[in-house]
Symmetry: C2
Subunit: 196 residues, 2 copies
């Protein structure tokens, strides 16, 4: 996929994520980013070729995180239904610990539709979709999930429910417990697609 990132690059990515989440993408400027990093503006360009490269780096970092965490969950949980729950639990924990990436998921679709950011964003969406698709397809095989609706549509419904939950957490200013409410929601949607 991509080349490794340095610790310093990760620091910058995290700071950029903070600024986006706090004040919106429009207020992510190199000046503010440098202030947050406690160094001068041009120092940014020792670590990234451009502002766009920081965004792409952020999306690739998120994609790698999803890959890792979903692989870990797959080792830990065998059965489709518990695995599906564990996948969302993992997402909830991750975004609680790294709320600075919350907006990146959503906003990247809209900010600057440059080829590079669009590709990076598509990659992230696709990785999440594929992990969901695998576990839901498996659940249909074992008879845990309904076969009356195609796996792709079930993925869409589950993913749409998850994304809206994340969005509302952000809109509310993280005003509720992401995991507690999220588990309730995902329980609901899983019960709907389950066969029993």
């Amino acid at each position: 996929m991509r080349t490794e990132i340095t610790p310093r690059q990760l620091e910058i990515i995290e700071a950029a994520g903070q600024l986006i989440t706090e004040d919106g993408y429009a207020k992510l400027t190199t000046k503010r980013l440098a202030e947050r990093m406690q160094f001068s503006e041009p120092a940014i360009y020792r670590h990234f070729a451009s502002k766009e490269a920081i965004l792409v780096g952020m999306l690739e970092h998120l994609t790698a995180s999803v890959q890792e965490r979903m692989a870990e969950v797959a080792l830990r949980e065998e059965l489709p239904e518990p695995r599906l729950r564990a996948m969302f639990d993992s997402h909830f924990s991750y975004f609680k610990a790294h709320p600075q990436y919350l907006m990146a998921i959503f906003a990247s679709n809209f900010m600057e539709p440059s080829p590079a950011t669009e590709a990076a964003n598509m990659g992230l969406m696709e990785v999440m979709r594929q992990h969901l698709r695998a576990v839901i397809g498996e659940g249909q095989k074992t008879g845990a999930f309904t076969k009356t609706i195609s796996a792709d549509m079930l993925v869409h419904i589950v993913m749409g429910t998850f994304r809206l939950h994340m969005l509302q957490w952000r809109i509310s200013g993280r005003g509720f417990d992401l995991t507690r409410k999220g588990r309730g929601l995902m329980d609901a949607v899983i019960s709907l697609i389950s066969t029993k």
Copy 2:
């Protein structure tokens, strides 16, 4: 709610929507907006006090449209299930006819979290939520929809599915039939929440 808008204001709102949908919010500038309107930049300020006011106007215009269309659907369709389908059909037709507003729905959450735009955006979300909530609550009363899950959660699942569908239509460059695929999806989610 809000004061009436002039035809010229609506033209500007539509042009702004086009620019956002085509090139992203970051490239909505007063200069480009004036070019699209075929008049000079300062002419914008004869119709709106600020750039922000245009965004707020757009969101309020969308909110009014949802109100009108949902009221019309309510008159036309009595039963919860057909009404729910008709509500989404209305949204699909509207956004096919006015794709320039597609991004506004999503992007407004992220761009400039000013009090005014945030309020306007909350208003739009809330109006959509309430219309869904009413028909789903009614469906639970008549026994058409499951009561094992709270109405609010059902609203969340249905709305999340709808929003992701709209997002994917945009990402694909409107590369598929919004209504055809959308009906399939909403059929699927309605069948999941139906009692039969």
